[in-house]
């Protein structure tokens, strides 16, 4: 079987050795959880409990705020202690604090909703609208929205994203090895819901064991194909993955549905099976806790709303020279200002870096070497966009197609002058969009 890929991209150090062979362990439940009402793209969820309420595992805590939004469920049983506002990662966020009684009492609604055979497409879609499932790779796009394409956008292919091209992260890798059966169950459900004929499971071919495992689980599904992808960043970026699997270009400014494709994250796909077949909404996830700044790197199952402090304790505590925390992987993850913030549905990784690994070299003037142009996976000229953005010429930045940037960070990575290219382009994008709204 050939290896599929896209044009452009970079080779990043994998740094996955520390955790790729470690089976998933369960993080001891914290004494209290803090459920953010803002765990997805779209409107924040609205709390439907009040202080003092007794709640159970799987109970609805936050109701989706609009169609593009998602429910939030409790990951513990216990008592609502506090509902308060906190500024997290630059956004005002409502947190619901729940004291864990340690009983793990299941909510009475947690029961199987049916099987792939006896549920209709519409029933699956409606159920998933309640499930709280979002894209768990980072963006947090609600799954039921993805599964509701307009009439004029026929979908013929589903891609399950197992590229995991971010360095350090191994959570999807372990999920495929240990929960392959559930992933395939989820894929069948989404396939039925969309009415598509073809399902691809795309996996970078540095994860041979995962490819074999998924091939094993899909043996009787003739329409599910496990495809090996070239090891290259950003192989898991939506548009690049769609191109690699189907050779279709998502149009500039368009969505996967414009080329008849829906892409689903690996963990989200498993969550679909967990909800439909077993009734459990999205309250837990697998997270890779790793990096030079943590004592015992691990792949750990965490309850939604667990503070990073608690997870760090579970992973043996911080190294003495710990200096920087990244939510997600090192290429697209966000640096966090402190350890008090709670985990969410999209906390795929916690990367703790020590002083040495956190070091970012000083940037020097652009030498116009053109490496950023050679490797840009959307074929932009990052050096020029960044140059115009830095000078405040936003119209020029727009003319150079700043808005097409997928912010993968490959340009900043490759730059020999260590220029913060994607950072400047990001600023340009924000300013261009702002001026459009005016």
């Amino acid at each position: 079987m050939g290896v599929l890929t896209f044009r452009g991209g970079i080779h990043v150090p994998h740094a996955k050795e520390a955790t790729e062979k470690l089976p998933i362990v369960t993080c001891p439940a914290p004494e209290r959880i803090f459920l953010s009402m803002r765990q997805h793209i779209g409107a924040p969820a609205q709390p439907v409990v009040k202080v003092g309420d007794e709640v159970k595992v799987g109970q609805l805590i936050g109701q989706a705020g609009s169609f593009v939004s998602a429910n939030i469920h409790s990951s513990v049983s216990g008592k609502v202690k506090k509902i308060f506002n906190k500024r997290i990662m630059g956004a005002d966020t409502v947190l619901v604090e729940i004291e864990n009684d340690g009983q793990e009492t299941l909510h009475e609604d947690i029961k199987p909703h049916g099987t792939c055979e006896d549920l209709s497409e519409e029933e699956i879609r409606t159920l998933l609208g309640q499930s709280g499932i979002v894209g768990m790779g980072g963006a947090g796009f609600p799954i039921h929205v993805k599964l509701s394409p307009p009439e004029n956008k026929p979908i013929d292919s589903l891609i399950i994203n197992g590229a995991e091209c971010e360095p350090y992260l191994t959570n999807d890798h372990r999920l495929m090895l240990e929960h392959g059966r559930e992933i395939v169950e989820g894929a069948r459900l989404i396939k039925k819901c969309l009415g598509v004929s073809k399902v691809y499971i795309g996996i970078e071919n540095n994860k041979q064991d995962a490819i074999l495992a998924m091939e094993e689980h899909t043996r009787q599904d003739s329409d599910i194909e496990v495809v090996a992808l070239k090891v290259k960043y950003p192989q898991g970026a939506e548009k690049q993955l769609i191109y690699a699997c189907t050779k279709r270009y998502v149009p500039s400014g368009g969505l996967p549905m414009d080329v008849g494709v829906v892409v689903s994250n690996m963990a989200s796909t498993k969550a679909v099976a967990d909800y439909i077949l077993r009734g459990m909404p999205l309250i837990e996830r697998i997270c890779t806790v790793t990096g030079s700044g943590i004592k015992h790197p691990m792949n750990v199952q965490i309850k939604n709303g667990t503070t990073i402090e608690h997870i760090a304790q579970c992973a043996g505590g911080l190294a003495e020279d710990f200096e920087k925390l990244i939510l997600g992987g090192p290429m697209m993850g966000q640096a966090a200002p402190d350890l008090t913030i709670p985990s969410t549905k999209t906390t795929s990784g916690l990367l703790f870096l020590n002083q040495e690994d956190a070091f970012i070299p000083e940037s020097t003037p652009c030498i116009k070497c053109g490496k950023c142009v050679d490797i840009c996976p959307v074929f932009l000229q990052p050096a020029y966009i960044a140059r115009y953005a830095e000078k405040g010429h936003m119209a020029k930045a727009e003319e150079y197609r700043a808005l097409d940037c997928i912010e993968c960070g490959s340009c900043s990575f490759i730059c020999p002058s260590k220029r913060p290219l994607v950072h400047s382009i990001r600023i340009a994008k924000r300013k261009i969009l702002e001026s459009r709204r005016k």
Binding site: V12, D357, T364, Q381, I414
Partner: protein, 311 residues
């Protein structure tokens, strides 16, 4: 625990630096430099050394006067000095190297904003400056090994139609002919050029298309003569220019399409000057002419964005 380091993504960087790129260019030119010294003697070695040191001092002085950080550590001044020296006839007095280095660094590079801002290749512009200012000194070449003053370079012989007087093809390939210190050995320059392509310092497009265009057009327009075309390929500054000067980052286009147009244009100009112009050699002027075309090429050769119509 508070006040962790917060920066925007990505949080890792490649190990490639400007210094390592410049270091690779220097390394790639070591074979040609050693051969140059071997062929033309210790004065060539002195000239290389003096020109490099002059370039470094000029760079440091300008930056100190302009109260900017001194960036000798990025090795770009060394590269400019070295390439300029390899473009000098081995017989010129040392002060020619100094004048050329100062012109390259101060006028062409620093006055236009320093590294990455120059619109012409500094070494090539300096060579042209020297050729025009000191035409006599800059046109005396030496025979290899004997160091006797050469009657004419292979390019001049080709121009004059004296094909019988040319050195044999093998000597032309290994560079055992009269010429500037570093331009004569196609073999050494090719080895270094391949190293630069493998190390991803340069893309293959510019040297391959430039040298290829020059060869093919020389063949087609020069009377379909294979021997004539091969001599034209191996003599003169085609390899030094194509691998090390036409590829200068800041004076060449950044996009792939741009690079192709640029390299083709340079090849075309080289052939026109060589076959129809007054000078025997066209590499120098073709590179400078294409340097100034770069901004225009860039404007029309932007890559087609993923999933989008060309703007």
């Amino acid at each position: 625990m508070e006040n962790l380091i917060v920066t925007s993504s990505p949080h890792i960087r490649s190990t490639r630096t400007v210094k390592s790129i410049m270091g690779d260019v220097i390394l790639a030119l070591v074979p040609a430099s050693i051969l140059g010294v071997y062929y033309y003697g210790t004065h060539a070695a002195l000239l290389i050394g003096v020109t490099i040191v002059a370039a470094m001092i000029a760079e440091a002085l300008v930056q100190m006067i302009r109260k900017q950080p001194v960036t000798l550590h990025d090795l770009s001044a060394v590269v400019t000095g070295l390439i300029l020296a390899l473009n000098l006839p081995p017989s010129v007095p040392l002060w020619i190297g100094v004048v050329g280095a100062v012109f390259a660094i101060v006028i062409v590079k620093q006055l236009f904003g320093g590294l990455g801002q120059n619109f012409m290749n500094p070494a090539m512009a300096a060579r042209v400056f020297l050729v025009i200012s000191y035409p006599k000194l800059m046109s005396v070449f030496l025979e290899p090994m004997t160091h006797a003053v050469s009657g004419a370079t292979p390019m001049a012989l080709i121009k004059a139609g004296e094909m019988a007087a040319l050195p044999n093809m093998m000597d032309s390939f290994i560079g055992k002919t009269a010429g500037t210190i570093g331009e004569t050995s196609a073999l050494a320059l090719l080895a270094g050029g391949l190293y630069l392509i493998v190390r991803k310092v340069i893309n293959w497009e510019i040297p391959v298309i430039y040298i290829g265009t020059t060869f093919v057009l020389t063949f087609l327009l020069g009377g379909m003569d294979v021997e004539f075309s091969l001599y034209s390929l191996l003599s003169g500054g085609l390899f030094l220019g194509g691998f090390y000067m036409l590829t200068d980052y800041s004076s060449s286009p950044i996009s792939k399409t741009g690079k192709i147009i640029y390299a083709f244009g340079a090849g075309l100009l080289t052939v026109i000057i060589r076959l129809y112009g007054g000078y025997p050699e066209g590499v120098m002027f073709s590179i400078l002419l294409m340097n100034v075309c770069t901004p225009m090429i860039e404007r029309y050769a932007a890559p087609k964005v993923f999933g989008g119509a060309k703007k």
